[in-house]
């Protein structure tokens, strides 16, 4: 019962359910409820409802009770939100998010279908043991035979055959086939975007600094984040090229967080890259509002004041 998409088959009602287990605000969007006309009063299933009583929760996954559901025609009753302005916008965003979620799922589907041999990056698929997966990717980076390297080398990341522990982002492919140097084994970690049921994987060993990682993630989730951020800023389209890694500087609506080996969720960017690599277990792109609670933890951990992530 993990965070994977339930792509229902020929269900009788024909509704498609989109669920995310790792999402704090669950939205079950069915085809019935996607029409935004009655959206004000429409109650979709889930904790964060598309419509009336949506709000950022201070604690996760609280089942809304009748008190949260206004009677017919009443205004949005929002409580426990940090700022009043965020409540209304988050309502519309989570409403749109209901559509976006479905939209995202569909687009992922069509991407998967269109690419033929390319696989959607579903967690745990194809069923190959992580150890083997990492070895395969590792090997694909190192030119095994001359022919092989000409096939593979170009399209891959240019970071290969680097010694361990380098933090320099500008490392390029210097490795010769003769070197016996090894790059670190690939480090695929799951990354989830709040509100998107499909988890993806990113190879952390292909990066040497936070910037490239954030950029990769933003590209990966481009559809979702740009759509959502565009809703927030009244419909402006964000040009992909003009965006820098907003997730790291705090200007985006989303921040990048990770779960470390001890199970704590931390903001990405606090610690040196090498330390981060060693302790990261998985990533999550969270809404900025949700991530506010993370700051104190890392303060305890690192014992220093931190205002913005790097």
């Amino acid at each position: 019962m993990q965070g994977v998409v339930v792509l229902g088959g020929a269900t009788r009602s024909g509704s498609i359910s989109t669920l995310s287990m790792e999402d704090n605000n669950l939205v079950l969007s069915s085809e019935d409820s996607s029409s935004p006309d009655e959206s004000e009063l429409e109650l979709a299933l889930g904790l964060s409802l598309g419509g009336t009583a949506c709000k950022p929760q201070q604690h996760y996954a609280r089942i809304l009770t009748a008190k949260d559901f206004p009677s017919v025609g009443s205004s949005v009753s929002v409580s426990a939100s940090s700022s009043s302005s965020s409540s209304s916008s988050s309502c519309s965003s989570s409403l749109s998010r209901a559509n976006v979620t479905a939209g995202t799922k569909r687009s992922a589907d069509s991407v998967a279908a269109a690419n033929g041999a390319r696989f959607s990056q579903v967690v745990g698929w194809p069923p190959i043991r992580s150890y083997r997966m990492n070895s395969l990717v590792n090997q694909a980076k190192l030119p095994a035979t001359e022919e092989f390297s000409s096939l593979i080398g170009n399209s891959k990341n240019s970071n290969s055959v680097v010694g361990k522990g380098t933090n320099n982002c500008s490392d390029k492919n210097n490795g010769s086939a003769k070197e016996n140097g090894r790059s670190r084994s690939s480090l695929f970690v799951k990354v989830n975007l709040d509100g998107t049921p499909i988890g993806r994987k990113v190879d952390l060993s292909a990066h040497r600094c936070y910037e490239t990682l954030a950029q990769t993630l933003e590209d990966m989730f481009h559809t979702s984040t740009s759509t959502i951020t565009s809703i927030r800023s009244s419909g402006e389209e964000h040009d992909k090229a003009t965006r820098s890694s907003k997730m790291l500087d705090g200007s985006s609506d989303f921040v990048l967080t990770y779960e470390d080996k001890e199970g704590d969720w931390m903001l990405v960017g606090d610690v040196p890259w090498g330390m981060f690599i060693n302790s990261v277990r998985r990533l999550k792109i969270m809404r900025t509002s949700e991530a506010k609670g993370l700051a104190p933890r890392s303060e305890e951990r690192n014992g220093r004041q931190r205002t913005n992530p790097i």
């Binding site: 019962m1 993990q2 965070g3 998409v5 339930v6 792509l7 229902g8 020929a10 269900t11 009788r12 009602s13 509704s15 359910s17 669920l19 287990m21 790792e22 704090n24 669950l26 079950l28 069915s30 009063l41 109650l43 299933l45 996760y60 996954a61 609280r62 089942i63 009748a66 009677s71 017919v72 025609g73 033929g116 041999a117 390319r118 696989f119 579903v122 745990g124 698929w125 194809p126 069923p127 043991r129 992580s130 150890y131 083997r132 070895s135 395969l136 090997q139 694909a140 095994a144 035979t145 022919e147 092989f148 399209s155 891959k156 086939a177 003769k178 016996n180 090894r182 084994s185 199970g263």
Partner: protein, 701 residues
């Protein structure tokens, strides 16, 4: 042999001459005879014959296999089997290999070791698969069992190379150290240097999956001391030069795992290596081959004559390279390759390996970023099936497949026992006909009567599972992903496969109805895994209630406290299929529903399906007018209907009131507006007509 019965049994066995006195054979003889039994299935059968045989068997058993570490406790185990020398333990569900199980799930070996230390003091072998092992456990193991000989860790986690160092330091009688594909914290290769200088008993050493460098001189000395070394699998950091030196020291190796074979080979090195391989007359199994070059492969040819198992799954060979290699491997029985060899490479397999029994083809490139490599198709598989008639085990990752090809393949090789086909794009149909792959797997189960393990993929409807349930009579393990159309599929399997032991399902539209259709089945199975399906907490609870001897575990991943995950899962995932369940509840009189359902269909099911329904109370569900009005005559057989927070509107309520004059239809309005949504609807039958004492906020229609 006669039964020995101490206690007279009223039901005589058919062909035994039972005596009421003690038999001529003392217990020890029976035990001695039974000790020759090795197969655990035989032993299990034997233990069921009678109490004496049960006792004799339990005293004589020295090896125990536990397929699920949570199916039995250490206490129960040690109580039943007092003389165990070798234990095999498997822990986590198999899908944990693919990151579907969160960390810290369980399967800790430590509690077992604690009890073994007292009860099985002379334990010699421990083989663990998918268990969590800590460095403390390894140290405890090393210090508690003076006779300890063999440690095998496959796909385990939780330990580091420090733990290995404890083993190598303290286990004086170690013969086997097999560390494979674990999630290990690889700190250093120092563990190898911890073998004492006089240590010489090692027969099996496999550290192929450890990345840290080991001290080569220490390894060299170890290999030269251990004259009985049969299996040596080094890691990829070993150079050709080092490999050569090892081969010279250990020409009697049966299994060799090479390191990386990437370096340039000078002619002298080339011939030296070739002759070293030539001297390895006993070599049966070759593996490793990290980053191999074409130049290197001919060096191996002399060693391939007696090869039975060739593991090239870490080497991205081209078809011609494989082909040239296979010419020298006439006796090959098992072959693991990457799909870089493409269909031509598999044609070479078909041509050169008539004795092949097992083939595994893994994807060569990063499956997420494939752009260039084509992999293998149905053509390659077909070619193998034409040439290798003895093929009975296949694991095949491919990007396209057809029903016709699979049908032909199983006609060529009807003896499949393990058929694991993975079409890597989920839900991909037959690429030629665009139809589901149902007929492919139908052919497999119809033709391959000995089939024990099956993994399905591609676009599959319930028909596949109908076939499986109907024909796969020997099936023990079934893996399903992104398949099926409805509960019916899973029901077919549960009802149909008598020997089913492991069922693992991910991302299929199977829900509670399927889960609960044959819950007694689970007692004859080792385990069931369902993730990404449509099962809800309520379904799980029902199962747990009905079957107290089952452990029903739900993995909740919302990850934070304050999360009412029970309710969360139970309610947020209640598709109409659950309501289909209620269709079966023929005695249901009162039903309360909250925050559930996905569409009108759910409520319609209930109204149509529960004949004795009298009270229906619904809050905060997406049921609207269609549902309300679907079976309005129903309400006359009911005491009342309450709906609040649903999608019913005033118009719907008015319509209902019109159609059913004998019903009182009351709407509670709490907002003061004449809004369109009927927030709270209360419907009940009455012979007294509309009530006269309704307060202002109740609107009687």
């Amino acid at each position: 042999m006669n039964h020995k019965r101490k206690n007279p049994d009223p039901s005589p066995d058919s062909d035994e001459s039972t005596t009421q006195l003690s038999s001529p054979f003392p217990d020890e003889v029976l035990e001695r005879v039974l000790s020759l039994l090795n197969s655990r299935k035989d032993r299990n059968s034997v233990s069921l014959v009678c109490k004496d045989w049960y006792d004799a068997e339990r005293w004589s058993r020295t090896h125990v296999f536990i397929g699920n570490c949570y199916s039995v406790s250490p206490e129960i185990l040690t109580r039943r089997f007092p003389n165990i020398r070798s234990v095999t333990l498997k822990g986590k569900p198999r899908f944990s290999d693919f990151d579907l199980v969160p960390p810290k799930w369980g399967a800790y070996v430590h509690s077992w070791l604690l009890l073994f230390a007292t009860k099985y003091h002379f334990l010699e072998e421990l083989r663990l698969k998918r268990m969590t092992v800590s460095d403390e456990s390894l140290k405890f193991l090393a210090l508690s069992f003076p006779n300890f000989k063999a440690l095998s860790l496959l796909s385990c986690d939780g330990f580091s190379t420090d733990g290995l160092a404890s083993i190598t330091t303290h286990c004086k009688n170690l013969t086997e150290l097999d560390i494979q594909e674990n999630d290990i914290d690889d700190k250093s290769g120092k563990w190898l240097s911890c073998f004492p200088e006089n240590f010489m008993s090692l027969e099996v050493l496999n550290f192929a999956n450890l990345n840290s460098d080991v001290n080569f001189e220490a390894l060299e000395r170890l290999v030269s001391r251990c004259k009985s070394l049969k299996v040596l699998k080094v890691n990829e950091n070993m150079t050709l030069e080092q490999l050569h030196r090892l081969l010279v020291l250990a020409p009697h190796l049966r299994e060799l795992g090479t390191g990386s074979l990437l370096q340039e080979l000078m002619p002298r090195q080339h011939s030296e290596l070739k002759s070293a391989f030539n001297n390895c007359k006993n070599l049966n199994i070759l593996s490793g081959f990290y980053e191999v070059t074409s130049i290197f492969l001919p060096v191996l040819y002399p060693a391939c004559t007696n090869l039975t198992f060739l593991n090239l799954s870490y080497a991205a060979l081209r078809s011609d390279e494989l082909s040239n290699l296979l010419i020298h491997c006439p006796l090959l029985q098992r072959l693991w390759v990457q799909d870089s060899v493409e269909d031509e490479g598999l044609e070479a397999v078909g041509s050169n390996c008539p004795l092949l029994e097992e083939l595994r083809v893994f994807p060569a490139s990063d499956p997420f970023e494939d752009e260039i490599l084509h992999g293998v198709t149905e053509t390659g598989f077909l070619a193998v099936s034409y040439g290798c008639k003895k093929l009975h085990y296949v694991l095949y990752f491919c990007r396209q497949m057809t029903n016709a090809a699979v049908a032909t393949i199983v006609q060529n090789c009807p003896d499949f026992t393990h058929f694991r086909l993975c079409i890597m794009n989920p839900r991909q149909p037959d690429y030629q006909t665009n139809e589901p792959m149902d007929e492919a797997f139908g052919a497999v189960v119809k033709t391959c009567t000995k089939l024990r393990r099956l993994a399905v993929s591609g676009l599959l409807t319930d028909l596949t599972f109908e076939y499986i349930g109907k024909y796969a009579k020997n099936l023990e393990t079934l893996s399903v992903a992104f398949a099926g159309s409805s509960d019916w599929g899973m029901e077919c399997v549960l009802k149909g496969c008598p020997k089913l032991r492991k069922l693992e399902i991910r991302d299929c539209p199977f829900g509670n109805a399927a889960l609960l259709s044959s819950f007694r089945k689970y007692e004859s199975m080792r385990s069931l895994w369902m993730s990404g399906c449509k099962v809800t907490m309520d379904g799980c609870r029902l199962l747990a209630q009905e079957m107290p001897r089952l452990n029903v575990e739900v993995i909740r991943e919302c990850g934070n406290d304050g999360c009412q995950a029970d309710k969360l899962y139970g309610q947020e995932r209640m598709p109409h299929l659950l309501f289909s369940l209620f269709e079966l509840c023929t005695n249901l009189e009162t039903l309360s529903v909250a925050f559930a359902g996905s569409s009108d269909w759910g409520m319609e099911c209930v109204l149509k399906g529960c004949p004795k329904l009298r009270k229906l109370e619904i809050r905060d569900c997406p049921f609207g007018n269609a549902a309300l009005l679907s079976s309005f005559r129903k309400y006359e057989s009911m005491r009342s209907l309450w709906m609040s927070g649903c999608k019913v509107t005033m118009d719907g309520c008015r319509l209902l009131a019109q159609e059913m004059p004998r019903l009182n239809v009351e709407v509670i309005r709490e907002c003061g507006n004449d809004g369109c949504q009927a927030d709270k609807l209360y419907v009940y039958r009455s012979v007294a007509g509309p009530r006269k004492d309704a307060p202002p906020f109740v609107l009687t229609l």
